[in-house]
């Protein structure tokens, strides 16, 4: 029980850090969003009065008190009410609504492709480590090359080959908008989502699978030279049992504890990938926010991404305790 409590406390601290960072960044940075917006308005010839400045400051959450502590309090209270401000891009929609529309797409895309790539990578890693020096093992340097490729570049190549040159897949969007499909739980719509999501998912899986595979393969190789594997083999257990229950279960642990590092990579890569495929998710939304100087939306997105990543890590940590009884016993 103490283990779970420790984990929970850690994630509460991490969440607080993310929330506070989100509050501090705009205030610590040299560029003031109000100044940037005013400069843009001035450049396009719009009249800028002191009132404009004051109203912009209020809209961007800088109005009212100049005291940071009071501002921080207001910010936290607003967060609890789910109030993240108003989006400039989608005016007058609130940031929360705009994000709520995009979030399911991203969670579906990144969640599914990360799961597929994790399971496939771990499975292939087990095989490669088991038969060291086989053709599968020699394939590993190739997959790590995919890992060193920028996600969005791989996406560009796939778009060029599979949508421009050979028209196998659609090149943009989350589903067939022009076919008159209405989002809902109909087979037509879901089929269209899978069809449109295939290329983005393929990009993410191809780029991230190498890391899982290599990590698992290396741990498998280390584990296989342990004495208890020899004992298991000497007892005459079937090879697949030795491979899975004895070797793989122990070898997979570092992959779980290293999940946080890898997930950061996947999320970062996927954000930019969405932009290439015009996928209606968070990454595309972040790009829109950045290019339109929609600061409230941008910070809301950062917060949502942070919370999602924290949740994913929490789930993996809890799973880790399930797989490795030692973590529960030690605490």
């Amino acid at each position: 029980m103490r283990f779970y409590l420790q984990k929970l406390v850690f994630y509460v601290v991490a969440l607080w850090a993310a929330v506070t960072l989100n509050f501090l960044i705009p205030r610590l940075m040299p560029g003031n969003p109000v100044d940037i917006l005013i400069a843009k308005m001035g450049a396009t010839g719009q009249p800028v009065t002191p009132q404009t400045r004051a109203s912009l400051a209020i809209a961007l959450g800088q109005g009212g008190s100049t005291n940071w502590f009071v501002q921080y309090g207001d910010y936290i209270v607003n967060l609890f009410h789910g109030n993240l401000g108003v989006s400039v891009t989608d005016f007058p929609a609130s940031v929360t609504t705009v994000i709520a529309q995009a979030l399911p797409w991203t969670i579906g895309l990144i969640g599914l492709s990360t799961l597929i790539s994790f399971i496939l990578g771990i499975g292939l890693g087990v095989l490669a480590g088991w038969r060291r020096g086989s053709w599968l093992d020699n394939l590993i340097p190739v997959t790590t090359m995919f890992q060193a490729v920028p996600y969005f570049w791989l996406a560009l190549i796939l778009v060029l080959l599979l949508t421009r040159l050979s028209h196998i897949f659609p090149f943009a969007g989350g589903y067939d908008v022009y076919g008159g499909l209405v989002p809902g739980l109909t087979p037509d719509f879901l089929g269209s989502v899978l069809y449109y999501g295939f290329l983005p998912a393929l990009t993410i899986v191809l780029s991230s699978i190498g890391g899982w595979m290599l990590g698992m393969r290396n741990m498998m190789v280390s584990t296989l030279s342990e004495d208890y594997i020899l004992t298991a083999e000497a007892k005459g257990l079937r090879p697949y049992r030795v491979r899975l229950t004895y070797a793989a279960r122990n070898a997979v642990l570092p992959s779980f504890s290293g999940f946080a590092i890898s997930l950061g990579f996947v999320v970062a890569g996927s954000i930019v990938t969405e932009e290439v495929f015009s996928y209606p998710g968070i990454g595309q939304l972040l790009w829109t926010a950045v290019s339109n100087d929609d600061y409230a939306l941008m910070q809301g997105i950062f917060l949502v991404i942070s919370v999602s990543v924290l949740l994913a890590n929490l789930v993996v940590d809890l799973l880790y305790a399930l797989i490795d009884p030692r973590t529960r016993a030690r605490s």
Binding site: S222, P254, I271, F302
Partner: protein, 326 residues
């Protein structure tokens, strides 16, 4: 990936060595095919980044020959939408990307050293605090944070070193955690305890006794940080938030994508830039593999080619494989 096992010894001591090697050369990786290939590609690209910009023409020079395919009119890799020479842009872009990569690598290594090694060695409350801080930084997603920060910095101030500092601040935590685990296992070894009892000063134990054992790990983390930085910068530039007035491989991709290279089928504009990143990343990974194999000798390959060198016959090799000798 944090694939290595901190409990492993640092490679078996050489038993039969004709001339005793100095402690420094012992740390150097032995020449394996992976290392040779990785080093040659990496050195080639680094040399090109240094020399290239002096050899090629102005990457910003505009001509009327837009979207020329490679090889035509003296443009080795074709031209862009405004008729700029892609080959020159790649030379400058490689230099920019590598500068960012190495600056971030150095900064991140220093930061991870402070938070990973120092904390673990001193122990107590400081270690607890550092470990908590490291883990918090680790779970907060890096690139979205960099994007937010990047967007708040005015374009005029967004120089190449500022971008590097921001990338380093978000990219050190992973290696700090690895370094902490290794330091913890080393500081509890008998020889460290012995040197402490014999009255060696703290900094001496840290620098002379512990640090040499960490060098392979730090080298591998340094290499990893370079890949992280180059990829991160490319992503940042692709969103239009890269360093201003500097060519990097990411800015080339950004321009290519935004100026409709894709719809025009101008593959020569964006394929080479990504290929340089991929090749360099691959070369660094290969170097990392050989470093990993020094830290953890179990990972050394026993492929058929290696087994053949043992002087076994084909039948014996098949027998070995049948028995699954690890």
């Amino acid at each position: 990936m944090t694939t290595f096992n901190p409990l492993d010894e640092q490679g078996a001591p050489p038993v039969v060595v004709a001339a005793p090697r100095s402690s420094f050369t012992q740390l150097l990786p032995s020449a394996s095919p992976k290392l040779v290939v990785g080093l040659s590609i990496a050195v080639l690209i680094i040399l090109w980044a240094i020399i290239g910009p002096f050899v090629v023409g102005d990457p910003n020079a505009i001509s009327t020959q837009e979207f020329l395919p490679p090889g035509s009119h003296g443009h080795l890799l074709g031209t862009t939408e405004t008729g700029q020479d892609v080959w020159s842009q790649i030379a400058y872009g490689t230099r920019g990307s590598l500068i960012i990569g190495f600056v971030v690598g150095a900064l991140a290594t220093v930061l991870s050293g402070i938070f990973g090694i120092l904390g673990a060695y001193i122990g107590g409350v400081l270690d607890e605090g550092f470990a908590l801080f490291t883990n918090v930084v680790l779970v907060i997603p890096g690139l979205p944070l960099v994007i937010v920060i990047g967007n708040y910095i005015p374009v005029s101030q967004r120089g190449i070193f500022l971008i590097a500092v921001v990338l380093a601040l978000t990219g050190w935590a992973g290696s700090a955690r690895v370094l902490r685990a290794v330091t913890l296992s080393i500081r509890n070894r008998d020889y460290v305890a012995a040197s402490r009892v014999s009255g060696e000063r703290t900094w001496r134990i840290l620098v002379i006794e512990i640090l040499p054992n960490l060098i392979p790990v730090m080298a591998s983390q340094f290499v990893f940080a370079i890949i992280f930085a180059i990829l991160g910068e490319a992503g940042l530039s692709f969103l239009g938030l890269g360093a201003s007035n500097t060519f990097t491989l990411g800015t080339i991709l950004f321009q290519a994508y935004n100026d409709l290279a894709l719809t025009q089928g101008a593959w020569w504009w964006f394929v080479p830039a990504g290929l340089v990143i991929a090749l360099f990343g691959c070369a660094l990974s290969l170097i990392n593999f050989s470093i990993d194999e020094i830290i953890n000798p179990k990972l050394r390959n026993s492929t058929r080619a290696v087994r053949r060198k043992w002087g076994l016959s084909a039948a014996q090799i098949r027998e070995l494989e049948g028995e699954n000798i690890k």
